[in-house]
Amino acid sequence: MRDLTVSPSPHIRSRVTTSRIMLHVLIALIPAFAAAVVLFGVRAIVMVCVCMGSAFLWERGCNLIMKRPNTTGDLSALVTGMILAFNLPPSLPYWMAVVGTFVAIVITKQIFGGLGQNFANPAIVGRIVLMMSFTGEMTSWVMPNYMAQDVITAPTPLVEKNGLYSYLDLFIGRHPGCIGEVCCAALIAGGIYLVIMRVISIHIPVSFVGTVFVFSWAAGKDPVYQILSGGVMLGAIFMATDYVTSPVSKKGKVIFGAGCGVLTCLIRFYANYPEGVSFAILLMNIVTPYIDMLTRAKPVGVPAVKKEAQGDEK
């Protein structure tokens, strides 16, 4: 008789794997990518390819140098590359994008131990480093292709104060901005796909966008304009929901989203930068372990008396 395989229960596993989750995220990014191609033309395609390709190579290179197993199969590097590309202005020189993916993959992710160990969202750190290093290139915006034949610089909705852009312009992406962040409609479509496929829960996006809405309204700004412009949608749906750097519990996710929203508005309204989404998410990434600690799940069937006693100890 053949030897039997013996292992601890459970003997069956679900079909969901890390690479399948990442593949879903890539699929969810496709509508925004398509919109970017329509709006910004070939440059958007090249930029996304450069970022994804270089992210992949950095990941594989790190695996080889660190003598670790090949982790490119989990597709997380491709997701990081694509999201970083979405966060860059279309006119950015390609070599700067490669620097961005280096910071994202090598510095932020692999040096800390790879997927699951990074303290902050790699794409966010990549964007912020580029923003600090190449502020001029990172903040020069061009109008989408079909609106102006010549490449001209134009103000983004967050800087522009004269009501140049209508809500509809903002919603479908008829305004200058980063490659992937301009078309809210496509981003929301991707977000709905992720929620339906149970890749993300709605807690972070809803509390993030909701907080920006409420805060803007309370601060006397136009709330609809605020949530449709800049990187709020891209950040709330695709970057703040990164599993590794956001809290694990539902309660924690709501707190995390709300914190991102508040920080975004504070930076937008009262600080020097016109846009604050990436800083807000980075700061909330850093406090995630504390949110996790404060929102630990309460097991069912722990006597109430004991809970009080534990409280007293603290």
């Binding site: 008789m1 053949r2 039997l4 395989t5 013996v6 292992s7 601890p8 229960s9 459970p10 003997h11 069956i12 596993r13 679900s14 079909r15 969901v16 794997t17 890390t18 399948r20 989750i21 982790t71 989990d74 997380s76 790879g114 997927l115 699951g116 160990q117 599993y243 590794v244 956001s246 694990v248 519990s249 630990r296 799940a297 309460k298 097991p299 069912v300 069937g301 722990v302 006597p303 004991k306 534990q310």
Partner: protein, 431 residues
């Protein structure tokens, strides 16, 4: 509010196959340790003739039930059996004569009150047939002055994939179930009865509802949502009565007694006929089994004899599981015998869908395990605490509440062995 759970593919491909009685095998091996508690001492010698229902093992410990011969024949040896728990127990090997002669004088037990009822239940060799194997007379013999039990929950959730033996019991032995309920109600003085069945067994729910209407108003049938693990004791108590069994408590602390539907059916049958627990209804399924079926087998039958009946080539098997795929234990030898607690025998081929996606990768903190845990634990945090041997966190995060349902490991996209780590952590805290 209901407790959380996960959706599993039911794969109940034997739900429609009526139970058949396995032809008496040539030999059986009856283990002396088949329930939770003390092992029995062997009461027979090599060369003795034994009859069906004859007591061949007993113990003077309270936490123990006697073992009976399931066949008629001759004792050929007393051997040792290595069990999954790692313990070794004695086994009585019997060569059958194929006549299945019953022990003379088997008749319905004389029962007048709780004590004599518990005694009769013990003598029947009855223990929890759902898998845990807790001696039923101990469960019934609760101290009336300490506990006031008002509800009996009949656990017919059968939430594991593949398993249909409880389902078939309900369809085929409904009268025994209600006789069992009547006896338990009468002698233990329990008022309410709740039969809890998962919604994926509508025919069983209908039948139980019909019978319950005739039997009395205080028996209700609850249809549970088909989320694993509905059949876990704490979960079923909460979902049927809304009472929470706290850490360190037993269901009797909140006035509930939970017994498996097959156990109940056996008690009902025993109270009528007096035939002790000598056979078991077992689901035979899995992708290596050509004709999946439900068979009634004598206790002590070798697993390979049952697989043979299900048209399964033992050479093709890579993995055989006693019980369901979520909580069952792997077999390491197909010649091992069936015990009272086994409700299924699953055999899987090499490769196939079971092995797909088992490569372990790093935790990505997706939180699916936390969503899945029916008792609200945080398996990913516990895993990290265990890896650091951090006893304090493990204690604080209540790893002791884990019942090893396996939901966390099932849903993990990184395929981490979270449930296994929880068991190791519990063992670590015990040392």
């Amino acid at each position: 509010m209901k407790l959380k759970g996960i959706f599993l593919d039911h794969k109940k491909n034997t739900a429609g196959s009526a139970s058949v009685v396995l032809p008496t095998p040539k030999t059986v091996r009856i283990a002396m340790q088949q329930c939770a508690g003390a092992a029995c001492d062997v009461l027979v010698k090599v060369g003795d003739e034994v009859l069906v229902g004859q007591k061949i093992g007993d113990s003077d410990k309270y936490m123990s039930v006697p073992v009976h011969s399931s066949v008629s024949g001759k004792v050929t040896g007393i051997s040792e059996l290595l069990q999954v728990s790692g313990r070794v127990c004695k086994c009585v090997d019997i060569e059958t004569d194929g006549e299945q002669r019953y022990m003379p004088g088997l008749k319905a037990p004389q029962v007048s009150d709780k004590d004599s009822f518990c005694n009769a239940v013990r003598e029947s060799g009855c223990c929890g047939l759902g898998g845990a194997g807790f001696p039923t007379h101990v469960k019934f013999g609760f101290d009336d002055t300490r506990f006031s039990v008002d509800t009996l929950v009949i656990n017919a959730a059968e939430c594991e994939p593949y398993l249909t033996s409880d389902h078939r019991t309900m369809l085929e032995d409904a009268d025994s179930i209600f006789n069992g309920i009547a006896c338990i109600k009468k002698y233990l003085g329990i008022k309410n009865v709740c039969i809890a069945i998962e919604k994926n067994k509508p025919d069983a729910i209908d039948l139980m509802r019909q019978k319950a209407q005739r039997a009395g108003a205080d028996i209700r049938v609850t249809a549970l949502s088909t989320r694993y693990p509905q059949g876990a004791e704490k979960v079923i108590v909460y979902n049927t009565t809304g009472r929470v069994v706290c850490e360190g408590q037993i269901p009797a602390d909140v006035g509930v007694i939970v017994i498996n539907v097959s156990t109940c059916a056996f008690i009902g049958q025993y109270m009528k006929t007096g035939v002790p627990l000598v056979s078991k209804r077992i689901t035979v399924s899995g992708d290596a089994v050509a004709s999946p079926c439900n068979v009634i087998v004598p206790i002590g039958t070798a697993f390979e004899d049952i697989l043979w009946y299900g048209d399964c080539d033992p050479e093709s098997i890579d993995k055989a599981i006693a019980g369901g795929p979520m909580m069952g234990t792997d077999l390491f030898d197909l010649r091992d015998p069936v015990c009272k607690t086994h409700s299924a025998l699953l055999a899987f081929r090499h490769g196939g869908e079971r092995e797909r996606n088992r490569v372990q990768t790093a935790c990505i903190r997706c939180g699916r395990c936390i969503e899945a845990c029916p008792v609200g634990l945080m398996p990913t945090v516990l895993e990290k605490a265990f890896d650091k041997k951090d006893r304090q966190t493990l204690k604080k995060m209540k790893v002791s509440l884990c019942m090893n349902c396996g939901s966390c490991s099932y849903v993990c996209p990184a395929k981490r062995d979270l449930a296994e780590k929880n068991q190791l952590a519990k063992a670590l805290l015990r040392t």
